[in-house]
């Protein structure tokens, strides 16, 4: 069965996100100063074969832990659905 995984990888909350900080400043300079926090991460979509959702989730989790996310600095979340 083919599955699609939508993965979000974000810098850990306790870690400085210089990019988010600079973009927040840019938004304030544009006059959108209601923005109180910006954090910027990555969105990754991947397709994979698996016998069931449980296996698919386990594969995606491994992919995140081993390669896609840097666990020292980033956290990830994902949703898996049937393609």
């Amino acid at each position: 069965m083919e599955f699609v995984a939508d993965i979000n990888i974000m810098p850990m909350k306790e870690i400085l996100d210089p990019q988010g900080k600079a973009v927040k400043l840019g938004l304030h300079n544009l006059g959108i100063d209601q923005v109180s926090d910006v954090r910027i991460g990555k969105h990754i979509t991947l397709r994979l074969e698996a016998t069931d959702a449980v296996e698919a989730e386990s594969k995606v989790k491994t992919a995140c832990e081993k390669l896609l996310a840097n666990l020292i600095m980033e956290e990830f979340s994902f949703e898996v659905r049937i393609a």
Partner: protein, 229 residues
Amino acid sequence: MKFGVVVFPGSNCDDDTVFALQHNLGQEVIKLWHKDHDLQGCDFVILPGGFSYGDYLRSGAISRFSPIMNEVIQHAKRGGYVMGICNGFQIVCEAHLLPGVLLRNIEQKFICRNIHLKAQTNQSLLTAGLDQERAYRVPIAHAEGRYFTDADTLKKLNDQEQVLFRYCDAQGNVSEAANPNGSLENIAGICNESRNVFGLMPHPERAADEALGNTDGKLILEQVLNVLV
């Protein structure tokens, strides 16, 4: 002629550009702070290299909304001269003063080295006096310099001789091997349709001083003076 060099908080080639214009070319030049709302009578505005706002999100994306950029855009629309070098080129593209975009280098790495350039047209202020057979040696230093645009725009750029420079080898051959960053058709610099806005990835100001052993960049910068003075 009065030059203005825009200083964004993360500009880092602003002083180099000012120094080249002032001391190597003997021109009057002032710095324009990004929070200012006035070009102070500058005839020729240069957006220098650097990392304007840290270049987070996309290079040039945030700086394009600086107060000074409104003035720069108005100046360009009035026919005033604007030149973006490296990060400045990225900013003028983000501000839609020039078509296209500068993508991440094909090898996904920052590249700093001397490359060679060939002028493509004599129909522009910046290239009119350059030798189109000569390979000019000028440095590049960027991570996002791969020029890209859609097929229609590319055709227009070529048809209207808006391509100012292409990357070439030391012998002047424009080839894939001489393309340092994967730019479309080796494009290193372009101008707009009205031919008053220029953008180039290489840094002529870094090759404008005999003390550094290369003055090919000075030959390019001097073109601006030959026509206007």
